[in-house]
């Protein structure tokens, strides 16, 4: 048995068999159906911009379609798809950094950070939007922790899924999650928002 077939999720085995049989078009249609949301969420987590995430996800699918006949089963289908997607996102991030170096991007980040830091418990409760505060605090986390935390919750709190999508060992994901939550907890304690009832009541 090929490694990819052995490692494949039960649902992907049939797709690998289809690809082996040369049925690329129906296999791609099923891949798109199965991974459309995951690819998009990975793009969102990496790029933090829905427009860019849509473009990157679209480009990723075109790449996947073109590369599908050359899929050699060395990695599982999901890992292969996530690798292509990550590469597209990294290219998009490099382009964005290149553009930011010509504009005032870092200033925007600083303004955003200052804005998030200015949010007080009173204001948050005033707007009954502690989730917004939480999201802003997540945005202030270091890049790696933010990505891990975001994908962990996007993918139904699955360490394995987030690790595969980010191409990281599960242990690193757990460490990043632990640090991210500790940092968030500390920020909330500083703001006097460490009463569990506040958070269990929050939300739609």
């Amino acid at each position: 048995m090929q490694p990819a077939l052995a490692d494949a999720a039960p649902g992907d085995r049939d797709l690998i068999e289809m690809l082996r049989g040369g049925a690329h078009e129906p296999a791609f249609a099923q891949l798109l159906q199965r991974y459309e949301g995951k690819v998009y969420r990975l793009c969102c987590a990496l790029l933090r911009d829905t427009t860019q995430a849509q473009d990157a996800a679209q480009e990723s699918w075109v790449r996947i379609w073109k590369a599908l006949p050359r899929y050699d089963e060395r990695a599982s289908l999901s890992t292969w798809i996530y690798t292509i997607t990550r590469n597209r996102c990294l290219s998009a991030l490099e382009r964005r950094r290149a553009l930011a170096s010509l504009s005032d991007g870092p200033v925007d980040d600083e303004v955003q950070a200052l804005h998030a830091g200015d949010v007080t418990p009173d204001e948050a409760s005033e707007h009954d939007d502690r989730c917004a505060l939480l999201r802003e605090l997540v945005e202030l986390l270091p890049e790696r922790q933010r990505r891990v935390l975001t994908l962990f919750y996007y993918e139904g709190r699955s360490v394995a899924e987030a690790a595969e999508m980010l191409g990281m060992p599960a242990g690193s994901v757990k460490t990043a999650l632990f640090r991210a939550r500790a940092a968030l907890g500390e920020q909330l304690r500083r703001r006097g928002l460490d009463d569990p009832r506040l958070w269990l009541e929050t939300g739609p």
Binding site: V62, L134, E155, R181
Partner: protein, 141 residues
């Protein structure tokens, strides 16, 4: 769910934070027209890929035509050169035949030797002009 293996401890606050994060970080869903956009992008990519062999064939055909034209030009040049040589030789012979009576009257018995030396010098000058780097205005243009 792997909450147990990722929580730092089982405190009520951390459990509440986990619940709040799950609420706050909602998974984004692709826009409604995303599949249509992907389909359109795939069609464009397929068209682009399909036009690539056609463009390659066109370029190869143009290259072949240019090469054939160059070869034809080279042959034309060789024929013209050969014709110029033959024509020049005949013209030189005819000119010599016409000039011989005047040369013999002017230079006497040395006329033939003088004509041979003169034509040899002219020939050498022509050869030298082709084998040495070009000078003058024409060479600099």
């Amino acid at each position: 769910m792997n909450q147990d293996e990722t929580s730092s401890s089982g405190s009520a606050f951390e459990h509440a934070l986990d619940t709040a994060l799950a609420r706050a970080l909602r998974a984004p869903i692709p826009p409604g027209d995303f599949r249509t956009r992907v389909d359109a992008a795939l069609r464009r990519a397929a068209e682009s890929d399909g036009s690539r062999p056609a463009a390659r064939a066109r370029l190869e055909r143009e290259q072949r035509e240019q090469l054939a034209e160059l070869r034809a030009g080279y042959l034309r040049l060789r024929r013209r050169t050969f014709a110029s040589l033959v024509g020049g030789a005949f013209a030189a012979g005819a000119a010599a035949a016409l000039l011989m009576p005047w040369l013999e009257a002017t230079f006497g018995p040395n006329a033939l030797l003088l004509l041979a030396v003169g034509t040899a010098l002219a020939g050498l000058a022509i050869v030298a002009s082709y084998w040495t780097p070009r000078g003058g205005l024409a060479g600099r243009l």
